[in-house]
């Protein structure tokens, strides 16, 4: 009897296991089918609803283009008075809670700060400072024997700009930020050439001076800062534009500020919303700041909470969040039909690239040293590798058109600086083979793989990062493309590298792994068009370890006194982009889109760069968010 029961039980268990396994399979299969089947009708619906703003492409429903996305929310209806907006901070980590511009280091914190504090200077669409923000500025040359090319900025803070505790924002608050960041005890990462370029800052930073001689508080509302060198980059992000409330911070030692409650629990800013409550790492509740200098905000309250990328779609569909700071683009295709949101999109300030290792980093001299014996030293080999890959196909196949072929190293959002006229190598395997043949990379032993110019075996070691579903197939695609023109490229160690290991070996600390010949990386460019920090001869982040006389000359000219003339600067950077296409220390592969879903009840929202619309104008048309139907 009992034996039978055991047998029965065993059978039952097996059956259950099978059922479970089948369930799993069915789930995935169903999902797959759903996607394929519902995509078309869903997109048609979209067509009816939104008219021209439909992000879907007509020919292939799974292919999208950044040009089809609007940058501003289509306002449907009038905003109600007050209301609460729920904002999702998409992150697989919590926010650290260092809620001050001078001390934060993680991107999630920046997002949290952005709601309650703001920059003293706003930027326009070319990332140049304007006079629209809380402060205005003028510049005048500063010429002494010591600093013949200096420049003095005079900032005037507008009336009515107040801290959340009601105190007016003063010149000393702004100067205080410089005093904190330049202080010898300052623990954060912000201190750099932007600060040491101020007259007297280096002495102050070394502890030799009690004040910064180049910073002068003229009166309550006027601040003067004098820089040693007049450089156009100062106007495009080179000034530290964040003030901190000196009347609250003045008695706290600099080294302890970042742990203080004023940074952690009760931060005080000057933005449209003030912090009401913080649940560490999880959420922040903001309430409106009625005395905001641009006018009383529409919304009563904003609730920000951290949403894991895995559940962001559900959170948007149920209206749990009205919008998010950034949406994982790879999930867009399956959710393009979400009926309760409008998708906004723009080109991201970033590019992906393939880099060639041409030398190493000299730690003593702190500069790059090119090595003519490197495997990748011949520019023809590099050019052929560029011709061999089809980045448009990569964009379409792996990213549904939300990434696309990149041409130059200055990205299109920089407007006129981006040189769209250059003919950059695009997919042409025959051309690649021809270049290799002419350069002497021939298949000597007839195995279908080319040898190097001396006839020795040529294996190119490729380093690339893990992360996301696409990383592995993408790496394999590139390797196959190169194999198709006869080049043997192998993943270094035969696998993808984890982020930290990757950058360690590519050389973030100067210890380049000599075995790496090529690598795939990506850069966020920030708002300054100047590429010196990534390609200058004395820059650690110049990972290809490339330098040339022409390169140094152009990069310096691009940030010289003459370059205050925009046309001159544009011309220089256009030449530099051409040089990069000739020399190919790296070649850009993909530009990418950022997509932001916004609930239909939200009005007055834009992601356009340089737009004058502020968060205080943000509103909702009804108390409850729309939910997804379908």
């Amino acid at each position: 009897m009992s034996k039978n029961v055991t047998k029965l039980l065993f059978a039952l268990m097996l059956a259950m296991v099978l059922v479970l396994a089948a369930c799993g399979d069915k789930d995935t299969a169903d999902n797959g089918n759903n996607n394929n089947n519902t995509e078309d009708p869903a997109n048609n619906e979209n067509n009816e609803d939104n008219g021209e703003e439909d992000p879907a492409d007509d020919e292939d429903s799974n292919l999208f283009s950044i040009d089809d996305f609007s940058q501003s929310k289509n306002n449907e209806g009038e905003p109600i008075e007050g209301g609460t907006l729920n904002f999702g901070l998409v992150s697989d980590t919590v926010f650290e809670g260092t809620l001050n511009w001078n001390f934060y280091s993680g991107a999630p914190d920046a997002e949290v700060i952005g709601w309650f504090d703001e920059s003293m200077l706003y930027m326009d669409d070319t990332f140049t400072y304007t006079n629209e923000g809380p402060a205005e500025f003028t510049t005048e040359p500063y010429e002494t024997d010591e600093y013949p090319n200096g420049v003095t900025f005079t900032f005037t803070i507008k009336d009515g700009v107040k801290w959340h505790d009601g105190e007016p924002v003063k010149a000393e608050d702004w100067a205080f930020s410089y005093e904190v960041i330049g202080h010898p005890d300052y623990p954060g990462v912000r201190y750099g050439p932007d600060f040491s370029g101020i007259i007297g800052m280096e002495e102050y930073n070394a502890g030799e001076a009690d004040s910064i001689s180049g910073i002068e508080i003229v009166d309550d509302k006027t601040l003067k800062i004098t820089y040693k060198e007049s450089q156009p980059s100062l106007l495009t992000g080179g000034v530290w534009t964040y003030a901190m409330p000196k009347h609250l911070f003045k008695d706290i030692p600099v080294a302890e500020m970042q742990e203080h409650d004023l940074v952690r629990k009760n931060p005080v800013g000057m933005g449209p919303f003030k912090v009401k409550q913080i649940t560490p790492g999880e959420s922040v509740v903001y309430e409106k700041f009625a005395d905001y200098w641009r006018g009383e905000p529409n919304l009563d309250e904003v609730v920000l909470k951290v949403i894991a990328p895995e559940v962001v779609v559900q959170a948007l569909q149920t209206g749990e969040v009205d919008m998010v700071d950034s949406f994982p683009t790879d999930q867009f295709v399956d959710n393009a039909d979400m009926s309760n949101v409008e998708w906004l999109g723009q080109t991201d300030l970033a590019y992906t690239y393939i880099g060639f290792k041409l030398g190493h980093w000299d730690k003593e001299e702190k500069k790059v040293v090119m090595d003519p014996d490197k495997k990748m030293a011949d520019v023809n080999l590099r050019r052929a590798m560029w011709y061999a890959v089809d980045n448009n196909a990569v964009g379409e196949q792996f990213y549904n058109g939300l990434r696309w072929n990149a041409t130059t190293l200055i990205i299109p959002p920089f407007g006129d600086y981006h040189n769209s006229e250059i003919e950059t190598p695009t997919y042409n395997p025959d051309e690649a083979k021809k270049i290799l043949d002419e350069a002497g990379y021939l298949d000597v032993d007839g195995d279908g793989i080319r040898e190097d110019k001396e006839g020795n075996e040529l294996t190119i070691n490729f380093a690339t990062m893990s992360g996301g579903d696409v990383a592995e197939p993408l790496a394999q695609y590139y390797i196959q493309s190169w194999k198709a023109v006869g080049l043997n490229v192998e993943l270094i160690d035969g696998r993808l590298l984890e982020f930290n290991a990757f950058y360690d070996r590519v050389g973030q600390a100067g210890d380049d792994d000599p075995n790496i010949d090529i690598y795939q990386g990506a850069w966020g460019t920030g708002s300054d068009v100047n590429p010196y920090g990534l390609y200058g001869p004395d820059q650690l982040f110049n990972f290809p370890r490339y330098e040339s006389e022409k390169n140094s000359e152009l990069l310096e000219a691009g940030n010289s006194l003459d370059a205050f003339d925009t046309d001159y600067r544009i011309d220089i950077y256009r030449q530099w982009q051409e040089l990069m296409v000739e020399d190919i220390p790296v070649f850009p592969t993909l530009y990418r889109a950022v997509l932001i879903p916004v609930n239909n009840r939200v009005v007055n929202y834009t992601i356009e760069r340089g737009a004058n619309m502020g968060l205080h104008e943000l509103g909702v048309t009804q108390e409850e968010p729309f939910t997804h139907e379908g």
Binding site: M13, S105, P187, V311, Q314, G524
Partner: protein, 320 residues
């Protein structure tokens, strides 16, 4: 008894020492550091280098270890690089959440396991028993991270009965009744997900113990004296069968820690497990070492607790 406990505790000291060395060396061997995520053209590499020097990350490992362990003995785990606050304070925020999660999970575990274990043992080799055993084997075989995802999807998103992330609804004032209710509400689904599939050991121990006990002579005697069936089970058998459960209570803690790492990440619940995973991927050494050490200590203490309970319960295993 005391002798045993003291000796048992003495053994712990070398255990903890080896553990701390292992944790520290392994953490330092990870490629990259807390600053390698800051590769940003707007941040001056020279400044990053300076910070690395200041933090002492270039010193030989034994010097760094000595500095670290010196602090640990005084319960100072150093400064979290990422959160820019003392690790002790940071863990203080998180450990509270983890504690409540573990407690509620334990309560659920016993609420589920005890009735099922008793039924299973009392009616052994019947359909009821088979079903319960089947369930416990299923729990044993199901990976917690899959099960938790399914629970989240069904009860969190499809049915919408429970919140899907966080430990409390934003905006509630700590200390109020609503705040407390919201905390509990956020706990239920993660705790239940973990409890439902970690009960198997308790169910099985209880079942076997009851089957064992009910054939003992004193039960026969109780029956012979005319005690009712419910009295026999509730007074005589159940009490005696609970002893091993109590003894394995310490080991439950280890299971809870392992489970909480998955559960907290899936449910976006800010506790120690989530902190550990994030700190590993962002190379926040001081937090990694502190959390791992604390988890290790909890496991060692759990084993100690079990041994002590066991020695009270069963005098035979006391070390002479």
């Amino acid at each position: 008894m005391w002798k045993f406990s003291v000796r048992r505790i003495m053994i712990m000291i070398p255990q903890l020492f080896v553990l701390s060395v292992l944790i520290f060396v392994l953490a330092k061997m990870m490629p990259g550091d807390a600053l390698s995520g800051q590769i940003d053209p707007n941040i001056d590499p020279a400044r990053i280098e300076e910070i690395r020097q200041e933090m002492g990350w270039y010193d030989p490992w034994h010097e760094q270890y000595a500095r670290w362990i010196g602090g640990v003995i005084q319960w100072d785990f150093g400064q979290s690089f990422r959160f820019k606050m003392p690790v002790t304070e940071l863990m203080g925020q998180r450990i509270e959440n983890s504690f409540w999660l573990s407690l509620v999970t334990l309560i659920f575990t016993y609420l589920i396991a005890i009735p099922l274990g008793i039924t299973s043992g009392r009616y052994n080799d019947t359909l009821r028993d088979s079903l319960i055993t089947g369930y416990s084997y299923l729990g044993f075989a199901t990976p917690i991270f899959i099960f938790a995802l399914v629970m989240l999807w069904v009860f969190g998103f499809q049915l919408g009965w429970f919140p899907t992330s966080g430990s409390v609804t934003p905006g509630l004032v700590p200390g109020t009744f609503d705040y407390f209710v919201s905390k509990v509400y956020h706990l239920i689904l993660p705790a239940l997900s973990m409890a439902l599939i970690t009960t198997y050991s308790t169910i099985q121990y209880l079942r076997n113990e009851i089957i064992d006990t009910k054939q003992k002579d004193f039960i026969l005697l109780a029956r012979a004296k005319g005690a009712s069936e419910s009295r026999v089970y509730n007074r005589h058998i159940f009490r005696n069968s609970l002893l091993p459960i109590a003894a394995f209570f310490g080991f439950e803690i280890t299971t809870l820690i392992g489970g909480s790492i998955f559960i907290e990440n899936i449910f976006g619940y800010p506790g120690m497990g989530q902190l550990l995973i994030e700190s590993i991927s962002l190379r926040d050494y001081s937090v990694v070492t502190a959390t791992t050490l604390l988890f290790g200590m909890a496991a060692v203490l759990g084993a100690l607790l079990s041994d002590i309970i066991l020695s009270i319960v069963d005098p035979r295993i006391r070390i002479k």
